[in-house]
């Protein structure tokens, strides 16, 4: 489709140099580690995860290091991100959610930083791989389900029984509710992964157009690229926000059950 058009267009005009928009998602081994037949190599994905974690630690530890009454720039950012997540948790879960602040803050900051680091040219977008987002989402799903059973015991199964519904409809609705509950990790992970992958693929496809259209025509897709890059930065923030807010909503379901 568009991708192959770009590639063939580039091959047609530039001769030989095919542009592959999927190349950016390739996982490369930095140094190989094999433990008992399992490939646990240190890859570029792991490297960028460590960079993201390091930057978050730097922001929070160095930012809050001085604890001045009038915050500096770094301290303002650290306080802003704290306030942002704390407000989100308070609005969606209430006071019972305070215990889960570290979890939601970690998830939000990790997804935000990996998304944003992915916008840096020549970097690697960790969240554009479904296995990463699925691991995050299934961890959230299992944790939230565990919290639900820990708080409500067997009554937690009442979550899948909608209230105020005629008894005739119940067997159907319970099945639908159960499926919608069980597909939460899939929808949560695919949403983040698809947004990141589609956005980055689109940017690279348009980058291919810039080269394919040459010196004079290339400025048009280049202008689109600038606009799309702005949109992608918005999407990178928005998806981290949505990921965190859905975690809050799931937590609210588990703690308060409707």
């Amino acid at each position: 489709m568009a991708a192959e058009e770009a590639a063939s267009g580039a091959a047609h005009h530039g001769g030989g140099l095919a542009i592959d928009p999927m190349h950016q998602f390739r996982i490369e081994t930095i140094f190989p580690i094999h433990i008992g037949g399992v490939d646990a190599s240190f890859t570029n994905s792991a490297l960028w995860m460590i960079i993201a974690a390091g930057l978050i630690t730097l922001l929070t530890v160095v930012g809050m290091g001085k604890r001045s009454l009038v915050p500096g720039r770094l301290q303002s950012v650290a306080e802003l991100s704290y306030e942002f997540v704390a407000n989100m948790l308070r609005d969606n879960v209430g006071d019972a959610g305070k215990r889960f602040f570290p979890l939601v803050f970690t998830i939000f900051m990790f997804v935000l930083f990996t998304n944003m680091l992915g916008m840096v040219p020549y970097s690697f977008t960790v969240t554009s791989h479904i296995i990463v987002t699925f691991a995050l989402a299934s961890f959230i799903f299992l944790g939230v389900t565990f919290v639900g059973f820990a708080v409500h015991g067997w009554h937690y199964f009442g979550l899948i029984v909608p209230k105020g519904v005629p008894a005739v409809m119940l067997p159907l609705l319970v099945v639908i509710e159960l499926i919608s509950y069980l597909t939460r990790p899939i929808s949560l992970s695919v949403r983040l992964f698809a947004n990141m992958m589609a956005g980055h693929t689109m940017l690279k496809v348009f980058a291919g157009f810039v080269i394919a259209m040459g010196w004079y025509g290339g400025f048009l897709p280049l202008a689109f690229m600038v606009a799309f890059t702005g949109l992608e930065i918005l999407v990178a923030f928005l998806q981290a926000y949505v990921f965190a807010i859905l975690t809050c909503i799931y937590l609210n379901d588990a703690l308060h059950m409707h």
Binding site: M1, R191, A194, M197, T201, L238, Y241, I245
Partner: protein, 75 residues
């Protein structure tokens, strides 16, 4: 039909899902704007919900795009 051609046609058909995302995003922003013009004071409080709805609507369209990309690059 050649399998390669069927793959490309299937990927194209899967991209129709993005029309639904377009309708959804348009509905969300249109209704937000209509509501915000009627009652501007209540509008900022609903901005997070606007972003949430936008992201949710956009994601459903991207599921279709993922199907298209799987057809193109995986199968």
């Amino acid at each position: 039909m050649e399998p390669a051609a069927a793959k490309l046609i299937g990927a194209g058909i899967a991209c129709i899902a993005l029309a639904g995302a377009g309708v959804g995003i348009g509905t969300i922003f249109g209704n937000y704007l209509a509501g915000a013009l009627r009652n501007p004071a209540a509008a900022p409080a609903q901005f997070p919900n606007l972003l949430l709805g936008f992201a949710l609507a956009e994601a459903t369209g991207l599921f279709g795009l993922v199907v298209a990309l799987i057809l193109l690059f995986v199968i």
